[in-house]
Subunit: 431 residues, 2 copies
């Protein structure tokens, strides 16, 4: 008997996943001296019921919790996990298996969790988004065009009063949403409650003056009970959303807040700071696609997926894959790096494009991403030579021009704000 054949129990190329198996797709590179067979056996073993040595005793239920690597194609392996391995509705527990210890095994040089396919037997224990795209559009009374929003920039430094004025200018320029950025929670000279109160007044005014619906994405990120308190405050002021920075808070509290937001009738806008710490290296870590699927399952209503163009990494192909995964009901088994997914009753997530967008590149963003997005234009409006309101007007003009198929240069001839924006940024990409 070979010394290290225990892991072969976790490889079965004849195995066909059952309807209620969870299936994961990994890209793997074995360490030197480790065979492909050993590598994929260890992946299935460490992420389910294995250990590193032969044991004196095995449970009678072992087959009900044992993962199986069942298909290798090049550097990609598919692993099937029996449904009984997972606690219903416990997202952190799923992560601890498929995205847990396995990344640290010496036997692997690199390992990347590329995609996951979740059976109905698993998804049915999660709420999914409360509103989804249709619900958000109804709430904001925005029918066809992209929903628009802006972060006050610089993202921290304004006091609550200055912040509320910027919000007012943003709304008055035609934008639907103002958003707190990831590091603005409750700071010394911009306390959460004060900001909410002052923005509430400014919203009243902006709505009255414009006749349009205006809303805000206040960043409640913090300890769980702190977040609950802040969510209740937003509810009391009649706001429609909470904004949560989902990676830095983590999935335990995201699940908690999803439950709380159900009771309060609040939508969840999900920021994703820190995702690039584990999704940027193409050989190792976890894809944004996987993270996005977990967010849809738990039930955020809006999620940052990338800008396609702009200051943040991410190719159009990657961003579109994530976008499709957020909006479609069914994902077919298209390529070696996609798994099929049936979302069934889980609603779509409104994809958010942000990061370095300005009026000059809006047509390109819309051409690639379509109109079914929330588009955040922040530096790209506050940096407008005539200030925030003109910037917001310019961005709205750019959207209207794009939707009507009119070249920006042409539209700018009759729209001064857009013209000034193009003079500053042209069609150049952000620095």
């Amino acid at each position: 008997m070979k010394k290290v054949d225990w892991y072969q129990d976790f490889v079965d190329f004849a195995y066909r996943p059952k309807e209620d198996d969870v299936v994961c797709l990994f890209r793997f590179e074995p360490s030197q001296g480790v065979s492909n067979l050993e590598a994929v056996g260890r992946i299935a073993s460490e992420s389910s019921a294995g250990t590193w040595t032969t044991l004196s005793n095995l449970p009678r239920n072992i087959e009900r919790v044992k993962a199986r690597s069942f298909e290798i194609k090049g550097r990609f392996v598919r692993v099937a996990y029996p449904i009984d391995l997972w606690e219903p509705g416990n997202m952190p527990q799923l992560l601890s298996g498929v995205a847990g210890n396995i990344f640290g095994m010496r036997a692997l040089k690199n390992l990347r969790l590329v995609d996951i396919s979740l059976p109905v037997a698993y998804t049915k224990n999660f709420l999914g988004p409360q509103f989804g795209i249709d619900g958000i559009r109804r709430m904001l009374k925005v029918k066809r065009r992209p929903v628009t929003g802006a972060v006050a920039k610089p993202k921290v430094g304004w006091d609550a009063e200055e912040h509320a004025k910027i919000a007012y200018e943003t709304w008055s320029g035609g934008f639907d949403l103002v958003k707190d950025d990831e590091n603005l929670t409750s700071l010394k000279f911009n306390k959460f409650e004060q900001r909410v109160k002052l923005c509430y007044r400014m919203r009243e005014r902006a709505e009255r003056e414009s006749g349009n619906r205006k809303s805000a994405l206040f960043n409640i990120t913090g300890e769980t009970n702190q977040m609950i308190k802040r969510a209740k405050l937003l509810h009391d002021y009649g706001f429609e959303y909470v904004m949560i920075d989902v990676v830095v808070t983590g999935f335990s509290s995201l699940q908690t807040m999803r439950n709380v937001c159900q009771d309060l009738g609040l939508a969840i806008h999900a920021h994703r700071a820190m995702h690039a710490a584990f999704d940027r290296n193409p050989l190792h870590g976890i894809t944004m696609l996987f993270l996005a699927k977990m967010c849809r399952l738990v039930g955020v209503d809006q999620l940052h997926v990338g800008a396609v163009v702009g200051k943040l990494a991410g190719t159009p192909k990657q961003v579109l894959e994530i976008k499709n995964q957020m909006v479609l009901k069914t994902i077919k088994n298209l390529s070696p790096v996609h798994l099929q997914q049936q979302w069934n009753s889980i609603k779509p997530v409104f994809p958010v494009s942000s990061g370095g967008i300005h009026p000059g590149i809006i047509p390109e963003v819309l051409r690639i991403m379509g109109n079914e997005i929330v588009m955040l234009v922040s530096g790209g409006i506050h940096g407008h030579p005539d200030g925030t309101r003109s910037g917001a007007l310019a961005a709205m003009q750019s959207i209207m021009a794009s939707m009507d198929g009119i070249p920006l240069r042409e539209y700018a001839m009759t729209h001064a704000e857009l013209r000034a924006a193009l003079e500053k940024w042209g069609r150049i990409r952000p620095e």
Copy 2:
């Protein structure tokens, strides 16, 4: 004026950090065509108050929230963050800044958050560990030797009754702790409450028979309220700990649970599944050292730091750095990849060594790590030819031999369990 000089506002080589600044050490690699100056300016900017373009208006408070890159040495840069940038006691908010969007910037090819230095002004708003090493030793009545524990292996598959029997065997072999592994929460055929109840009975028996204190690390990982419920159940059964898988739950709920555990008088054992998704690539992501410091600050009592030898990655140097950071009161400014740290009243964390340890390599683990550790030996006891209890006895014998400076081969001549263990595993490292 140069087109892209806005970021220079965030670089100041004459700046000396103030006593209450948070200081971070990053390793950076600019993308092609990006200068070092631009790269470090963007790091400071994006992690504090910057954006990608010039703005029409700046807040009067901007200097109070602006980070400054103040020292470059080779590929390392130090960045100082004013204390007013951070919300007191809000760990996710800190992460959203220093460990947030910056990893995704196109301007950087790679970025690694290596270390952080936290001023008292910041640490004073966190609880830190409730028990620390001394408290845990008092609780378990273990004076000098390493605290010992084992996960039932395979880590999932046993029903609650089988699980409790394995716990009993583990305790009876002389071990202090039994531990649930990361993916064992409440599963179909091993429900949390049932497992706790049956282990409670077995613990009574093991304590009565041995005259020693025995405890358990039950995995409460899940949605926050689920965790609170489980923590209360453990408290009601008189157990001393909760086990939380801190990366997959996230820091919002970890802070919540730290507060809950204060009220219940429970210690927190922290597992770290998923850490290697972002800490393994030496060029990008976040170091385990950083994660460990956040865990100490929030206040876990025990944290997995690596085995030095064994199945999981991590060099002895890295593991020892983390270990020292967990146990020392003061960390001096030793090298380009260390920052100083004053922990003051924040108690030490008991470092946990685990992952592929068996009786044959225990002396090596203790030689490198010292006795001030919690040592988990799981496959290394359950894989013993004569079963779990003999395995635990063998591991305890190996510890005693090590502490008395007796070579294992010699000690094994008079200790049958150790002899059988060495015959199986010798001194070879785990496969």
